[in-house]
């Protein structure tokens, strides 16, 4: 009897650890040194790895990301492999490296969309999140893609700095002809843990942002979808009927695995823990490894009595592990309001009295 391949929703391929932007909210652990120590796989090796991943597992689509995926000229070769396997293509980019030639070459591949992030309605606000000199380049990238008929989806990472301005950012997207927007939220995993105090939005911040999004969804028919988990104890989803919500997919067939710049497979792009090495292990086995299948078995202490713990899993576990530690990995978005120690540490850091040291930095320091 033929053995059927496991089916999974998506594989996020981190094509390179290099990025032209320097985002304070970057969840990539390799953002620490600009990706220098990690680099990228040589083209032939990358293509062979992707080919094998798509042969061994039936993915619905690949998401090309990084770093900045357009920093690699061979991104089109990777898309050729995906096309050959008949899987869809999505791209997450900051838009800043897209040239007219690239947009023209990209169009025939018909990616489902290129998702481009804008974190402010003004140059100042956007660049306060991603570094100087990127706002105009991002707007140009969006414009070039749209001119070639490539679908552009917007993205905004909601932070403590921009939560109250989300409406203006969505209006800016609308002016650019982008009406579908993914609302991410600052989720301190990887590099971002060093900016928890500065960027972590509160529940009130998030409600303000969602209220502004709700108006744009209702009045302008913008398609606004929250793409990071919003635990139901923090946000009542039904208060925002024109905003779509989802939950963490790890351990379900909706999971989006991450294939790292060195060929390692992880549970998602935010998680740093490696499930296994794609070079030496079967992808079919890796997607069914205990680290995947039992991910949802244990939830943070705070969630233990909650009836929704199996679906909610306490929010973003990657951020929980990175900031709070493995022993009780409650999402800092929740923990800031219910964990007295963490709340006090945040306050001190915001007053400039003491630095907040997240668990992943403690680990780094002790190695």
């Amino acid at each position: 009897m033929a053995h059927s391949r496991p089916k999974r929703y998506a594989l996020a391929i981190e094509l390179t650890s290099y990025c032209n932007q320097k985002c304070g909210y970057c969840y990539n652990d390799f953002r620490e040194d600009g990706g220098k120590s990690l680099g990228s796989l040589p083209t032939e090796e990358l293509l062979a790895l992707v080919d094998r991943a798509l042969t061994e597992v039936e993915f619905d689509h690949v998401t090309l990301t990084g770093g900045e995926p357009f920093a690699r000229a061979d991104i089109f070769d990777v898309m050729d492999v995906a096309k050959r396997h008949g899987v869809g293509i999505q791209i997450i980019s900051n838009g800043g490296l897209i040239t007219e030639a690239m947009a023209t070459r990209l169009a025939p591949y018909k990616p489902s969309f290129v998702q481009v992030t804008l974190d402010g309605a003004t140059k100042e606000q956007h660049e306060a999140h991603v570094g100087e000199g990127h706002y105009d380049k991002t707007l140009r990238g969006i414009s070039l893609l749209k001119m070639q008929g490539v679908t552009v989806v917007g993205c905004t990472v909601i932070s403590r700095k921009n939560a109250k301005e989300l409406g203006a950012i969505l209006d800016q997207f609308r002016r650019l002809g982008v009406t579908s927007v993914a609302l991410s939220r600052f989720s301190p995993a990887g590099y971002a843990t060093r900016n928890v105090a500065e960027l972590l939005p509160s529940r009130s911040d998030m409600i303000e942002a969602l209220s502004q999004a709700e108006v744009r969804g209702r009045d302008h028919k913008m398609q606004v979808q929250v793409t990071m988990p919003m635990p139901p104890c923090v946000i009542e989803h039904s208060d925002f009927p024109n905003v779509r919500f989802g939950g963490c997919p790890i351990g379900t067939e909706m999971q989006e695995f991450a294939l790292g710049p060195k060929g390692e497979l992880r549970n998602c792009t935010l998680h740093t823990e490696v499930i296994g090495d794609g070079h030496t292990q079967s992808f079919a086995e890796l997607v069914e490894a205990p680290a995947v299948m039992h991910y949802r078995d244990v939830t943070p202490e705070f969630c233990a009595p909650c009836p929704h713990k199996r679906t909610c899993v306490g929010g973003c576990g990657a951020a929980g592990v990175a900031v709070m530690g493995k022993s009780n990995p409650l999402d800092p978005f929740v923990a800031q309001h219910v964990d007295d120690g963490f709340r006090a540490a945040l306050k001190e850091a915001r007053r400039g009295e003491a630095a907040l040291v997240p668990a992943n930095r403690l680990r780094r320091a002790s190695v």
Binding site: S204, M230, E253, H308, V338
Partner: protein
Amino acid sequence: MSEQDSDDGRKSPDEDSERADHDAILARRKWLIASALAGVALATEGCDRVKSVLGIDQPPPPEQVTADPMPCLSQVPETPPQPCLSPMIAPQPCLAPPIPRACLSIAPQRLDPPRPPPRRRPR
């Protein structure tokens, strides 16, 4: 005195909002837990009994407070799902989140080995 306290000792708006967030989350968590208990109690005691015991409003149906699993960070495709998943995902308008069907349910059972003792959290 905290820098957020005003001169006359009253709490600042930030502190008020922080307290409100804290209280709201705990109250909502209590309500979610109670809703599960109410589900059990309803079967044996009926609505009135549940309300008087728990001192809360009747919980909503579970589907109002749960979210379907979906990938973080990126929108769902505008195009319909590709063939390999199409039987499992209901046709839906652009950008609606994918809905897991039975075969997409959490932790597929066919491969579940006996669960290890919960010594360490796996993530």
